[in-house]
């Protein structure tokens, strides 16, 4: 509004800010495919799902192969081990931080999977983390297993020799 055409007589001047708090609550549908994966976490298992068209194994899966657009029908049990494809070291404190800094966040490609996901690395000095490092999942105690990635306490180095770059270059 042009200040030439309208001037408020209120001594406080025009209103410049208005708070209208909004809160929306939602249900979430995990879906048929992701449910199989989440139930796996509850058993301390990684459950991959295979595309019947291209053969790629997704973990986690949202219900389809995003390349072929078809439902993933075959379940593939995966081992606890994988490879760090890339990583970052978190040095910045933020509200709600539950892990002592500095700590390592990494993309982990499980053995036999064709999709990496983010995981926390512990039992590893931040100077030692590197691409190709072999890691394994450490699960929470059996009584604490839940149908989510929270069942994975963290990943830690296995001490095996590094994975060959060619085995994970496609997943960077």
């Amino acid at each position: 509004m042009s200040d030439q055409t309208y001037v408020t007589k209120d001594p406080r001047g025009p209103v410049t800010q208005l708070a209208t708090p909004i809160r929306l609550d939602y249900l979430f549908t995990a879906g048929l495919s992701l449910s199989r994966n989440l139930r796996g976490y509850q058993r301390a298992e990684f459950v991959g799902q295979k595309c019947p068209t291209c053969g790629k194994v997704y973990v986690p899966s949202r219900g389809s192969c995003p390349v072929d657009g078809v439902a993933l029908t075959e379940e593939v049990p995966l081992k606890n081990t994988g490879t760090v494809t890339t990583y970052c070291v978190v040095n910045v404190p933020f509200a709600g931080q539950s892990i002592k800094i500095p700590y390592i966040c990494a993309q982990i490609l499980l053995d036999g999977a064709n999709l990496s996901f983010m995981g926390l690395i512990q039992e590893c000095d931040v100077e030692d983390i590197h691409m190709g490092m072999r890691v394994e999942a450490v699960w929470v105690d059996e009584a604490d297993l839940v149908p989510s990635l929270a069942s994975v306490k963290y990943f830690r180095p296995t001490g095996e020799p590094d994975a060959d770059y060619e085995t994970y270059r496609e997943y960077l």
Partner: protein, 361 residues
């Protein structure tokens, strides 16, 4: 080669060649959005006899406010499988407007086939709160007016202006639910007597429960094809001979809610009145709104209204308008009709309206 009907606006001819929809249900608790959409997309490709590789453009209609997650339309592309990459777009509106965008995109002439879909789960959140957020953010949204109360204000205006009565609303609901008996995909399918409906208590006066749409989860999809290629795919393509959409002011108090000026203008631009209308699929979530819309569309008295049951029988948000176009087109694809009208609405109390005229060759 069959002849393509003349396009009112002189556009490149575009036809609906296939339509598919999900069974519309109160709450799809097993499948997520991708899993709900995927079989519908597979079906529409199968009906058109094409694959995703034949598609030059993809456009979808949905809203993140229903799922409560950002960029949910990107996730939904997993249902299609867009590799190698596809030209894709999205409208935060009903899929009918995605169809409009695809129609415009096909005018450029470099591609011939487009996939359009709409999807939404109404069961995940509080619809009254969600849809209050589409209102003016300063003066209206903070009041949280619920969907039914806004529709009731509109219905009251319809009665006060002598356009229709509560009995007329009940008749619309009874006819819609009865028509839905022959639509296996609909949700509210029943034969009610007018007396029983009028005996229901008010939900929000003057609207009784039967005047309200069901809460629905669902998805639908359409394949659009430009030019003669449509005849390669199906025997009787449903040609879009006119399509237009108009919007009215955001200020509900500045409108006469008992009439739909935007629908009337869109109908005029799409050429609804320039020929007979065998059937019309009108997107009227509330029974009172159908009265307003059929008047604004200027439909002949012998036009069959909402043989699918319409939104009063299945109200999957974000695909309901697209489904109206699909249902109307299907009548031509099946050879049941020659000239049909489809309508879609968006925004509070019929703020924005799209009208589409489809004809067989």
């Amino acid at each position: 080669m069959s002849q393509i009907p003349a396009a009112k606006q002189g556009h490149r001819p575009v036809a609906v060649v296939a339509f598919a929809l999900s069974h519309v249900v109160r709450a799809e608790t097993n499948a997520n959005e991708v899993e709900m959409l995927m079989p519908v997309v597979h079906e529409v490709f199968a009906k058109a006899g094409i694959t995703k590789d034949d598609v030059g453009f993809i456009c979808s209609g949905s809203t993140d406010y229903l799922i409560g997650g950002p960029f949910s339309f990107v996730t939904a592309l997993d249902a299609i499988g867009v590799w190698p990459p596809k030209s894709e777009s999205h409208v935060e509106m009903d899929g009918a407007w995605a169809l409009y965008e695809a129609f415009v995109r096909l005018q450029e002439g470099d591609i011939d086939i487009a996939l359009v879909y709409g999807f939404g789960k109404s069961s995940l959140g509080d619809l009254d709160k969600i849809f209050a957020l589409q209102l003016d953010p300063y003066t209206m949204a903070p009041l949280n007016p619920d969907l039914v109360s806004l529709a009731a204000l509109q219905a009251r205006a319809v009665i006060d202006q002598g356009i229709a009565s509560e009995e007329d609303f009940a008749a619309v609901a009874a006819r819609s639910r009865k028509s839905a008996l022959s639509n296996e995909f609909a949700q509210v399918r029943r034969d009610d007597s007018l007396e029983d409906l009028m005996a229901e208590p008010y939900a929000v006066s003057p609207l009784r429960r039967h005047c309200l749409p069901p809460i629905s989860d669902g998805a639908s999809a359409i394949i659009l094809v430009a030019g003669d290629r449509a005849f390669d795919l199906v025997e009787r393509p449903a040609w879009i001979t006119g399509i237009d959409h108009r919007i009215e002011t955001h200020a509900i108090g500045a409108r006469n809610l008992a009439v739909s000026t935007s629908t009337a203008k869109a109908a005029e631009m799409a050429g609804v009145g320039e020929g007979p209308v065998d059937l019309a699929e009108v997107h009227a979530p509330f029974a009172s709104q159908e009265v307003i819309l059929t008047t604004a569309l200027g439909l002949p008295s012998d036009t069959v209204i909402n043989p699918s049951g319409g939104a009063l029988a299945a109200n999957a948000l974000m695909s309901g308008g697209l489904t109206r176009i699909g249902e109307a087109a299907q009548a031509i694809l099946d050879g049941r009709a020659k000239r049909v009208v489809a309508h879609a609405t968006s925004g509070p109390v019929l703020q924005q309206n799209l009208v589409c005229v489809l004809e067989g060759a």
